[in-house]
Amino acid sequence: MIFSTNPWVWIAAILTLCIFSFLYKENAFYRFAEHLFVGVSAGYGVAIYWNNAIVPNLYVPVFHQHNYWFIIPGLIGMMFFFRFSAKTGWLILIPLAVLLGTGSGVYLAPTFQADVLKQMQSAIADATNLELGGWGLVWGLVAFVGVLTTLSYFFFSREQKGALKISANIGIWFIMIGFGASFGNTVMARVSLLIGRVQFLLTDWIHIIK
């Protein structure tokens, strides 16, 4: 067993083990790593906001390109700081209103397009693709029924009774089969990530595997 001589690798390895120790139980090592992680990543976030948001979108346009329009978002952003005042506290609602108004306006139609129109198109296209022939068409129709019944589960205006109950139940079956499959399909990806970490520990830190 030969250990790495790189102190940085040691730090990385020990922190990895500290995080893994949580699997046994919450303990002083995990607590240390967790607090370090929160601090380091929050600090990294500050640097990212500064370097990637403020500098290119505010500092450079205003001070280098002399595009003084960009002072406006700066001023709106500063309204966040009024929240500590009882009298002018409501001013923080202005930057919020700008963010929310823009966000809901910008995403409304594209979401409808992607989640409703596109899905309608695919649902019909998949179930009526005569070129697939035979079983392909059968499975297309099965999937079509799955879509309709799943959708019926989300009908809130009626008590789930009678036909709606049957349909919603079939919908739940589809949902459950789908979720089980997604779960089973994800196991390999997650194990792969763990393998990556174990390989780091056993290759870079302790040179066991070549």
Binding site: E34, V38, F154, E159
Partner: protein
């Protein structure tokens, strides 16, 4: 394209003036050149539709030599005058008969195009040139389906809201996960332990976050009533600010501003896994009696939910992140699936306007189901109509 427009016109029985695309300039035929490969013919140039300008679409008919596999591709050339210097602006391989010149220098100015067939050994240039002017459009006709359907949806929602305002009682069926909220808060009070509420990891412009904050307001009212400690860790700075306001307001509304603890809504870090490690630590140390995971989540969903399950908390999750739902379903006691998260604010508050919106959503679903069935039926009978329907639903 045309089909889609006509079909929509029929469906809506409404005429919109902006639909008719302006006809392109007359095309000119290019005579055969005396070289080994034949040039493309029937060249047409026209403004590229539905764009911000500075683009012209050039179309042609393939060189007859393409069938003999002698053509490799086509070069598109542009000049400012019919006999000026033609420079290459693009190349497409064989099998393609159109090209969008995206770098047209000026809108409204006439540009001339020629297309050259490129063979293995020889090339053939279309003799005459065609011209077009690029222009910007003020309406994207490819998106008319989205505009019409969004407006229709809005109309349905507004009708139900006005019905709700007029005092009609609106029924909403029981949603298991939400019915459990009261019980979950009560349990925490009995046990003398806090409630943990994670309003998702996304930003304020993610609508799932808004839904989560809405439910947070309802939960905070209950914790204010029972005087149960509330913990709300945040990942997004803006969401954190709003969450703090919402919780404060909830305590005010219940008349317990004294019970509000400013430190109960706090910010952790904007790193996804850093946040997960922090919340894991909090769950392991504070042992909340109830955990709420509402809003948008990514891979951390299972990390949070499994840790919470180990500490013995009752867990109620809700997300529209389809990929994460399987993990919440397996590890939580109740899970609001997709739209149930959005129905929650109406369900919990029983406010008529919100209930009206939910009714509007429901009827829209009914319309979608009917349209799907009708679409399926006619598509199976007639492949031509199938094409029209698929065109109508095309995302532009």
């Amino acid at each position: 394209m045309r089909l889609k427009i006509y079909a929509l016109l029929l469906a809506m029985a409404a005429a919109l003036p902006c639909l008719a695309a302006p006809p392109g300039p007359a095309a000119s035929e290019a005579p055969m050149a005396a070289v080994t490969v034949a040039p493309p013919s029937g060249i047409k140039a026209a403004d590229t539709p539905n764009d911000a300008g500075n683009a012209i679409t050039v179309r042609w008919q393939a060189s007859p030599d393409e069938a003999r596999k002698m053509i490799e591709g086509y070069e598109v050339l542009r000049a400012e005058t019919p006999d000026g210097e033609f420079i290459k602006v693009g190349y497409v391989p064989y099998g393609f008969t159109s090209f969008d010149d995206q770098d047209v220098p000026a809108n409204g100015k006439e540009y001339f195009y020629r297309v050259k067939a490129v063979g293995r050994e020889s090339q053939a240039l279309s003799l005459a040139s065609v011209s077009a002017r690029s222009a910007e459009q003020w309406f994207n006709t490819m998106r008319i389906n989205a505009l019409v359907s969004c407006l229709l949806f809005t109309l349905i929602v507004v009708i139900f809201i006005s019905r709700a305002k007029s005092g009609q009682s609106l029924f909403i069926r029981r949603i298991a996960g939400l019915a459990a909220v009261e019980e979950a808060v009560g349990r925490a009070t009995e046990m003398g332990r806090p409630i943990l509420y994670v309003p998702g990891l996304s930003s304020i412009s993610d609508v799932a976050t808004i839904a989560a904050l809405n439910i947070l307001g309802q939960v905070a009212k209950k914790t204010a009533e029972y005087d149960t400690p509330l913990l709300v860790p945040n990942r997004d700075p803006v969401v954190f600010t709003v969450a703090q306001e919402i919780v404060k307001e909830a305590y005010n509304e219940i008349g317990r501003p004294d019970a509000y603890n400013h430190d109960s809504v706090f910010y952790l870090t904007d790193s996804q896994m850093g946040f997960a490690s922090g919340v894991d630590g909090i769950m392991a140390r504070e042992k909340p009696a109830t955990n709420f995971f509402m809003g948008m989540f990514w891979a951390e969903s299972l990390i949070l939910a499994e840790t919470g399950a180990e500490t013995g908390a009752i867990q109620i999750a809700g997300t529209d992140a389809i990929h994460q739902l399987p993990f919440f379903i397996t590890a939580c006691d109740y899970t609001l699936i997709g739209e149930e998260l959005y129905a929650a604010s109406a369900y919990l508050s029983r406010e008529p306007m919100l209930l009206g919106t939910l009714k509007g959503q429901d009827w829209s679903k009914a319309v979608i189901v009917l349209l799907l069935i009708a679409g399926l039926a006619v598509s199976l009978i007639n492949p031509g109509i199938r094409e029209i329907i698929l065109q109508m639903l095309k995302v532009g």
